[in-house]
């Protein structure tokens, strides 16, 4: 091995992203976020803080929300990833996307892809009965405003669109429960 490749070892990584399989050779240092943005041209997931503190990079990995800036792609070999680009069903927007439009749940929009993916994770987690810090012990979670604020606390919005984000998520949760 020459010096250059010894300093930057790479690996072959298989990922399924929004239903499409990819086989990539990536520098081991590449995060999932950089893989999506720099290698797959999926720029929906945003790089905000790059330290897991803002949530703008949130995607679903094997159905669970995670900060893609803190995941090394090489460790995810074989995983299925859903980004904001994969939420809609063709031209039909995801109910959360419709609700964000309906409730004006953003201003600049930079945090929105992360908010949407995180909210999709919240709906799934609550449906699975996963508790949050505000869920009373022994009870199933009901996605009221308090639950949504607690569960979405890993997604910051510097425009301060929080009240409308909470309404959008709550509306979607209620519509889902009514179905």
């Amino acid at each position: 091995m020459d010096d250059e490749s010894r300093r930057c070892p790479s690996s072959e990584v298989r990922l399924q992203v929004n239903g499409t399989p990819y086989r990539l050779r990536l520098d081991n240092r590449t995060t999932l976020l950089d893989t999506l943005r720099e290698h797959l041209d999926l720029t929906g997931a945003k790089k905000g803080c790059d330290h897991g503190q803002c949530g703008a990079c949130t995607v679903l990995v094997d159905g669970r929300r995670s900060n893609s800036c803190l995941l090394l792609a090489v460790a995810l070999d074989g995983a299925a990833v859903t980004t904001v680009e994969g939420l809609a069903d063709g031209e039909r927007l995801h109910p959360l996307q419709e609700a964000f439009l309906e409730h004006d749940a953003f201003q600049c929009g930079y945090c929105t892809p992360g908010q949407l993916c995180s909210a999709a994770g919240v709906l799934a987690e609550a449906a699975d009965g996963m508790p949050s810090a505000v869920t009373p012990v022994g009870e199933s979670p009901r996605l009221d405003g308090g639950e949504i604020r607690e569960r979405m606390s890993g997604n910051l919005c510097r425009c301060g669109a929080y009240p409308n984000i909470v309404r959008a998520v709550q509306d979607t949760a209620q519509a889902g429960a009514a179905r």
């Binding site: 300093r7 081991n28 803190l70 090394l72 460790a75």
Partner: protein, 330 residues
């Protein structure tokens, strides 16, 4: 970030052999702290040995009520498990009080225990730090130490351990199962982390190559209740300024059994044995709880800007134990 080799371990023993043989190797599991520290330059491994799939990710409840937790169990799954959620609310509450939904989905139990201090000087490689760079000094003693330790610190280091989960595990008498080159042993979680003394760079009792494979929770007596209470700067998604985990069993108005641990006040989850001693057999009243907390906190040596942690920790303790005692009498 420096380049590194990556190897996925097939089993825990293979992982231990790989890391023990390479001084610059680190274990990778969830990576939520390690990857961040690599970006910051605090960690610069030349080999990552991924144990995310080699370690067990199951939770098993024994017939006696004890629980074995695989080290790769994600924080969110542990918080939701009935053996934790119903029987040991302190642990579920502590887990859910930490980090964010995204991070709890990713971070593992083993990694949570071994996460590093969030002291701002430790995380900034342009600053001295005895923990990161032995002998370089500790700017926190005179500098930004408002979030840092009041108990068990030294003039070399005033860092705190940031985990909520570990505080509850300490109060629940949890043990870490550690696999090393010499075989397997168990370490009480309350004794896993070292106090800084003259060697703050030695953060835990683990040797290079040691791997936490499981965490064991002993059975709880049926009458015991547990809880966790945390104070922080915002309502959610912030590290503790102070926190308390407790297990309490009251019989006929008196404390029959108590275990108490403080968080965010020391370099390890602080098992409050002096307070426990003061409480055994005492009336289960707010007065007893306050006296016991004061006895423990008599050892506190606050710095210029973190003296608030002393009354905060005492008040959290009194409130939590009072709530548990009232719940127990219902």
């Amino acid at each position: 970030m420096k380049g590194f080799d990556y190897r996925r371990a097939g089993d825990p023993a293979g992982a231990v052999a790989a890391v023990a043989a390479a001084p610059g190797a680190r274990y990778l599991a969830g990576g939520t702290n390690l990857v961040d520290l690599m970006k910051l330059g605090v960690e610069a491994p030349d080999l990552l040995v991924d144990v995310g799939r080699a370690l067990d990710d199951r939770i098993e409840e024994g017939p006696d009520g004890s629980v074995r937790i695989g080290a790769a169990v994600r924080n969110s799954d542990l918080a939701a498990h009935p053996a934790v959620r119903r029987r040991r609310p302190a642990l579920s509450q502590a887990l859910l009080a930490g980090a964010s939904g995204q991070l709890r989905n990713t971070a593992t139990v083993g990694g949570n225990l071994l996460q590093r201090t969030r002291c701002p000087y430790f995380q900034d490689i342009t600053k001295p730090c005895n923990r990161r760079d032995p002998g370089s000094g500790c700017p926190a003693v005179e500098g930004a130490h408002r979030d840092l330790a009041i108990l068990g610190a030294s003039d070399q280091c005033v860092a705190t351990h940031p985990s909520d989960m570990a505080v509850a595990l300490a109060a629940l008498d949890a043990e870490a199962v550690v696999l090393g080159t010499a075989g397997q042993r168990t370490v009480p979680v309350a004794e896993l982390h070292r106090l800084p003394g003259d060697h703050p760079e030695r953060e835990t009792v683990l040797e290079h190559g040691d791997l936490i494979t499981d965490v064991l929770l002993p059975a709880l007596p049926p009458g015991a209740r547990s809880g966790y209470r945390k104070a922080r700067d915002r309502a959610s998604y912030a590290f503790a300024l102070a926190s308390v985990a407790a297990v309490l069993e009251v019989r006929e108005g008196s404390v029959h059994r108590v275990a108490l641990a403080f968080g965010a006040v020391a370099a390890r989850p602080w098992r409050a044995r002096t307070a426990e001693e003061a409480l055994r057999g005492a009336p289960a009243t707010a007065e007893s709880f306050a006296r016991a907390a004061d006895a423990e906190l008599a050892a506190a040596r606050p710095l210029r800007d973190n003296g608030y942690k002393v009354p905060l920790t005492r008040n959290l303790t009194v409130r939590l134990l009072t709530d548990l005692a009232e719940g127990a009498s219902r």
